[in-house]
C-alpha cells in the first residue's frame, strides 16, 4: 500500500529516519555482523587479535554432546510448553467466547499472568514447586522422594515448563479470543438454524476460521520459548541439574559470559539466529495466507 499524497522534500524525509537508522546500525547490524565475524575466528588467549578459523567453531560445537543436549532440551521445552499453553489458552478462549454470565470477568483476569516478569513468576513457582516447603512438599510427604527439581532433571524441566506455560496461557488467550470474536455471529447463527450443535459448530466453523491465528501463535510461542525462558531458567534451575534445563540462550550466556568463550558463544548465536529466522519466514508465509483468507 502506498500513499498518493506525499511530501516532496527528500532531506527532511531522510532526517526523520536517521535516529532509528543510527540505533539499529549500532545496536543491531553491527553486533549481528560481529557475531558472524567472531563465529569464524578464534580469539588469541593473550590478546593479539583474532585468527581466522573458518567453520571450525561450528564444527567443534556440533561435535559437542553438551550442545546437542542443549538443543534437545530447548526443543522439548518449546514443544511441551507451546502445546500446553496453546491448548489451555484455546479452550479458555473458546469457552469465554460463548459469552455466558461472567465471561467479561474472565476476559479481564485471565491475561494478568502475561504482565508478570519471567524471573518474578519463576521465583513464585520455585517456591510453589519447592520439594521441602510449599505445595509439592505435601506430595513428597505422601510419596517420599517423588518430586525434587534440584536432583531430578525431568522434574526440573517440568517446573520450568509449568512456569512458562502459566505466563503464556494468558497471551494465547488474548489472541484466540480476538480471533473468535472476529468470526461473524451470522455464520454461527446460520449453522445453529441448520441444526448443528455447539461442538459441531466449533470444529466445522470456528476452528477452521482461527487456523491462521493458531499458526501465528505457534511460531510466536516457539520463538518466545527460546528467549523468554532465560529468566525462568536462571532463577529456577540455573541450567541444572546436570544440564537438564540448559536451554540454548542460557548456554550462550554461560559460555560467553562465564566461560568467556566468545567465539563458541557467537557460533551458537548464529545457529539460534538461523533457527529463529527460518521460523519467522515460515510465519510470514502464513500471515500472507491469512491476508487472502478473509
Amino acid at each position: 500500500m502506498e500513499k498518493r499524497v506525499t511530501f516532496s522534500s527528500w532531506t527532511i524525509g531522510i532526517l526523520f529516519a536517521v535516529p532509528q537508522l543510527l540505533l539499529i546500525f549500532t545496536f543491531f547490524y553491527w553486533p549481528a555482523g560481529q557475531a558472524v565475524y567472531w563465529s569464524l575466528t578464534l580469539q588469541q588467549p593473550w590478546g593479539g587479535g583474532n585468527i581466522w578459523v573458518g567453520l571450525d567453531n561450528f564444527r567443534s560445537i556440533l561435535a559437542n554432546a553438551d550442545y546437542w543436549n542443549s538443543i534437545t532440551a530447548s526443543l522439548v521445552f518449546a514443544g511441551i510448553s507451546t502445546g500446553l499453553a496453546m491448548f489451555v489458552g484455546l479452550v479458555l478462549a473458546a469457552l469465554t467466547d460463548r459469552q455466558l454470565t461472567g465471561s467479561r470477568f474472565y476476559r479481564v483476569v485471565l491475561i494478568w499472568p502475561y504482565g508478570i516478569a519471567a524471573p518474578a513468576l519463576a521465583m513464585a513457582f520455585r517456591f510453589i514447586l519447592a520439594p521441602e516447603a510449599g505445595f509439592m512438599a505435601v506430595v513428597n510427604q505422601v510419596w517420599p522422594g517423588f518430586w525434587d527439581p534440584g536432583l531430578d532433571g525431568t522434574d526440573a524441566m517440568a517446573s520450568i515448563i509449568i512456569a512458562f506455560s502459566w505466563k503464556y496461557v494468558g497471551y494465547n488467550f488474548i489472541f484466540f479470543l480476538a480471533a473468535f470474536q472476529a468470526i461473524p455471529r451470522s455464520l454461527i447463527e446460520a449453522a445453529a438454524m441448520d441444526g448443528s450443535g455447539v461442538v459441531r459448530r466449533f470444529w466445522d466453523i470456528q476452528f477452521p476460521l482461527i487456523t491462521p491465528t493458531i499458526f501465528f501463535l505457534l511460531v510466536i510461542n516457539i520463538t518466545e520459548s527460546f528467549q523468554d525462558s532465560f529468566g525462568i531458567v536462571d532463577i529456577m534451575t540455573s541450567g541444572g541439574p546436570a544440564n537438564a534445563t540448559n536451554l540454548m540462550v542460557y548456554k550462550i550466556y554461560s559460555d560467553g559470559f562465564k566461560g568467556l568463550d566468545y567465539s563458541g558463544a557467537a557460533a551458537q548465536s548464529i545457529i539460534l539466529m538461523v533457527l529463529i529466522v527460518v521460523l519467522t519466514i515460515f510465519q510470514f508465509r502464513f500471515i500472507e495466507r491469512r491476508v487472502h483468507y478473509r
Partner: protein
C-alpha cells in the same frame, strides 16, 4: 447463546472457574507466603490463612535487596524505553510512509529485518558494542583509512571511546533498536485519509507542521497502546540489565530478585523471597489492570 444447552453451560462455568483459580493461585500463594513468619512458611502444608508478618517481611525484603533505588532504576528504564519507542517509531514511520526518496524501500527492509532477531540472540556482541558504543565508527574509520588520514593531517590519533555499561543509556538504547513500534504507526498512517494531507498542504503546512499538528494528535491511541506494551516489556527485561549493570547502582528490581533466592543451607527464608517477588510483580500488574484496554490493543497490534 443461540440455543439452550444447560449441561454444556455448566461445564463451561466449571472449566472457566478452574482456569481462573489456576491463574490467580500463584498470586495468592505469593501474597500469603509473604505474610507468614519463617516457621509457618516452611510448614508442610503451608497454612492458607494469612499470617501477621506481612509488613515486616516487605520491609526486610526491601532492605535486603535494596529495592527502593532498584525500583526507581526499573522505572527510569521502562519509561525511557517506552518514550523512546513512541517517539522514534513515529518519526521513522512518518519518513517511510509520507516521503518518496531513493532508497526508501531499502530503509524499510533494513528496519523490517530487525523484527526477526531479538536481543537475547545477539547478546554477546551487543554487549561488546555497548562497552564502547563508538567502536563501530572507529572500525569504519580504520578500515576506510580515514583515521590514518586524520592522523597524518592533524596529528591527532583517532580513538573513539564511549562506554555505556552501567548507565541508563546503555540500558535503554539497545532495547529501542527494533522495529516493533514502527510498523504499528505505519499501519495507522496508511489509514489516514489522503484528503487530510491535501487539505493541510493547501493551507500551507509543511511536512513538520503536518506531522506535529495533525498526525501525532491522531495517533494518540496508538501511542497509549505502544507505550503501555513497551513499558511492560522493558520493566520485565532480565538478561540485558543483568549483563550490563555490573555495578549495583544501576541494577533493576527484576535482576535484584536473584539476591532473594534462599540459599540451600539453613531454613529457607521463603517469606522474604515471596515478599520481594510481590513487590517486583506489583507495578506491571497495576499497569495491566489499569491500562487493560491499551495493553490488549497494543499487544494485538504490535505482534501482527
Amino acid at each position: 447463546m443461540v440455543e439452550r444447552t444447560p449441561f454444556l453451560n455448566f461445564f463451561t462455568h466449571v472449566i472457566l472457574f478452574v482456569g481462573f483459580v489456576l491463574c490467580i493461585a500463584p498470586f495468592a500463594v505469593v501474597a500469603i507466603a509473604a505474610s507468614h513468619n519463617l516457621r509457618d512458611v516452611n510448614d508442610v502444608p503451608m497454612s492458607l490463612l494469612p499470617g501477621s508478618d506481612f509488613w515486616l517481611n516487605i520491609k526486610t525484603a526491601w532492605t535486603t535487596a535494596d529495592l527502593g533505588p532498584k525500583l526507581l532504576n526499573s522505572f527510569i528504564m521502562a519509561a525511557g524505553v517506552a518514550a523512546g519507542k513512541v517517539i522514534i517509531s513515529a518519526l521513522t514511520a512518518f519518513s517511510i510512509v509520507y516521503f518518496r526518496y531513493p532508497g526508501r524501500t531499502f530503509i524499510f527492509w533494513l528496519i523490517f529485518v530487525t523484527l526477526m532477531l531479538p536481543l537475547e540472540v545477539r547478546i554477546v556482541p551487543t554487549y561488546a558494542v555497548v562497552a564502547n558504543v563508538l567502536s563501530p565508527y572507529q572500525a569504519i574509520l580504520d578500515v576506510t583509512g580515514l583515521s590514518w588520514l586524520i592522523e597524518k593531517v592533524s596529528g591527532v590519533q583517532v580513538s573513539l571511546s564511549l562506554g555505556l555499561l552501567n548507565s541508563y543509556s546503555g540500558l535503554i538504547l539497545p532495547l529501542i533498536a527494533t522495529a516493533t513500534g514502527t510498523f504499528l504507526y505505519r499501519q495507522f498512517f496508511l489509514t489516514v485519509p489522503d484528503e487530510l494531507t491535501e487539505a493541510a498542504r493547501m493551507d500551507g503546512a509543511g511536512a513538520l507542521r503536518f506531522f506535529i499538528d495533525i498526525l501525532l494528535p491522531l495517533s494518540r491511541n496508538n501511542m497509549a497502546a505502544l507505550g503501555t506494551i513497551m513499558f511492560l516489556w522493558a520493566w520485565n527485561q532480565y538478561l540485558w540489565p543483568l549483563l550490563i549493570t555490573t555495578d549495583q547502582s544501576h541494577a533493576t528490581a527484576v535482576t535484584e530478585l536473584k539476591q532473594l533466592i534462599p540459599n540451600v543451607g539453613g531454613i529457607p527464608e521463603w517469606n522474604i523471597a515471596m515478599a520481594g517477588t510481590l513487590i517486583v510483580m506489583l507495578p506491571p500488574l497495576i499497569v495491566v489492570v489499569l491500562m487493560q484496554r491499551w495493553f490488549v490493543r497494543g499487544l494485538i497490534a504490535t505482534e501482527k
